[in-house]
Symmetry: C2
Subunit: 329 residues, 2 copies
């Protein structure tokens, strides 16, 4: 027989209500009583039931996390950080991979509400997920969902500026930008705005190619091919995703371009995995851990009913100097 | 006010018990009644409460998944598949990244029991996680946990055989194997046994270097360096992980080896990500999707109380011919 709360109470010589209070950290309980209860739990090997605890507390201690897919290095790393931080704070992660499908995101969003998670961290690039009036603890990463929902992202404008200036300073004359779907309202668009600003200030004409989906490689190669057909004289490419940058580099090399001599390339994200596998790729590093930590902490504040001072948080990025822009690493 | 089951009953003109039966698909209900109930739900915008449903069904519809880390491409892809398949079957995934730490695995395992998930899929490489007597729906991937727990893995012996023969047939004379921690009881050890068998049959002396952890790159470079110091004449390397293979390739090139002319390398896992980023790397492809599907389906059978015919399932692997073993791709 699995020991129950009543058994703990009997051994500790207190009421079941007192045991329950100790378990849930409610009401005043003397430290002496607490010790008796914990000793009794240990003695009879009592394991508290989280489901029972969650019903009492009206908390599930579950956080829903919606990302496109953990198979993408950036999201795989982001989710690993989020899960680790949640775990340290006593929360579990319910993982949802939306595969960038608006329908799936919507279904997950509703499912997470029904399932009574305490809150949701969502990385989404589709519109219309959230009813503007909706009041539910949530944090968005990289995308505005509604006025009520705080958003955290890295400084995409700064990243775009650093990347574009790196190519300018490396002596590139024809610098082209590759970004994701132009129809998405994401702070990642700021990478493009920064690129355009830097180009205009340098007296250049900015030109951006949009791939269907930065995260999924196969669909992007046609746009990359188009870029080289349109601009065989391209000598600098700023890609808004490392996988995209590597794919572009491979295609360019298959055409006979030498990187960095003929063509300089800079990517974006700078995950540990990509920096390990492709240390030569110059890229903008997103502070993945800090994004995860800020998202989790903000969500827990919301869950605790605290008023948030900041509704939008932007974290600084940095540059990883590989060799693809001509720097010696 | 959120509509309740009683409101649905009133609008449909049936009893709340009938609504509950429709929701939980229990007992005989005429299709006419079902239609009335669904129409009523739609009319008043009733959202069924999964937590209430789970208490009624004694199911949480949650599956715990313990992996080292979603930041590793193989596990990121495996978890993405598991989550997708679970979602299609009405189950949610509680994600736990153990980071290969035995303590963390144990804590997660206990937490998942407490939290009353319906079952657990676990990828673990540490001993002693499971009490032999424990009866709890679980499936292990790549590792024996106890007699009661079914294990699914890809055919590691076959993979080791294919990889070793590929290097032999490519004309390598000194073929060395790099694998993970020799102290772990994992079916992945069969890759090494197959390598040893192929070498012995060819009259060669097998030699294996063990890195501390195949999944974490930084700790492995010292062993790779040692290998090249001990055997500067190495001309074939079979690495039991693609990240390890790529790291070895990079280090070899930094020493001046040309791949595949001086040194042939074959990796393991063959995720979509790595095949996209490093199409030139010859590697053994694990059937990640099939592993995920088999694990989920087996777990759901256990949850439904079905007797399992097969306790150990081995799925076939295949080879991806890149250029690092001298094949033209």
């Amino acid at each position: 027989m699995k020991p129950k709360i009543q058994d703990v109470a009997k051994v500790a010589g207190v009421s079941p209500t007192t045991v329950s209070r100790v378990l849930n950290d409610r009401g005043y309980i003397s430290s002496k009583t607490k010790e008796k209860v914990f000793a009794a739990m240990e003695e009879i090997n009592y394991v508290p039931n989280d489901l029972a605890r969650s019903l009492y507390n009206k908390r599930s201690y579950l956080i829903g996390v919606i990302v496109p897919s953990t198979s993408h290095p950036f999201f795989g790393e982001l989710v690993a950080h989020i899960e680790k931080i949640c775990n340290e704070k006593g929360y579990k992660v319910l993982l949802c991979n939306s595969l960038h499908e608006a329908d799936k995101e919507k279904k997950y969003w509703e499912m997470l509400h029904r399932n009574q998670v305490d809150g949701v961290i969502v990385v989404t690039y589709n519109r219309g997920l959230v009813d503007k009036q909706q009041q539910f603890p949530a944090v968005a990463i990289d995308h505005y969902l509604s006025e009520n929902i705080p958003v955290v992202s890295s400084d995409n404008f700064q990243g775009g500026e650093i990347a574009s200036k790196e190519l300018l300073e490396a002596g590139c004359r024809k610098i082209i930008h590759i970004n994701g779907d132009a129809n998405l309202e994401t702070p990642a668009n700021n990478r493009q705005y920064a690129y355009e600003k830097v180009m205009q200030e340098a007296g250049r004409t900015p030109e951006t190619y949009h791939v269907p989906d930065v995260a999924f490689l196969e669909s992007n190669i046609d746009i990359i091919k188009q870029l080289f057909r349109d601009h065989p004289d391209v000598d600098g490419i700023f890609a808004s995703d490392d996988l995209l940058a590597i794919r572009t580099l491979q295609y360019a090399e298959s055409l006979g371009y030498r990187v960095p001599d003929d063509l300089k390339i800079i990517g974006y994200d700078g995950t540990n995995l990509i920096r390990s596998l492709y240390p030569n790729l110059t890229t903008i590093i997103q502070p993945t851990y800090q994004i995860a930590a800020y998202a989790v902490n903000t969500l827990l504040q919301e869950i605790d009913g605290e008023l948030l001072a900041v509704k939008e948080k932007t974290l600084p990025v940095s540059i990883w100097l590989g060799k693809t822009t001509g720097h010696a690493s």
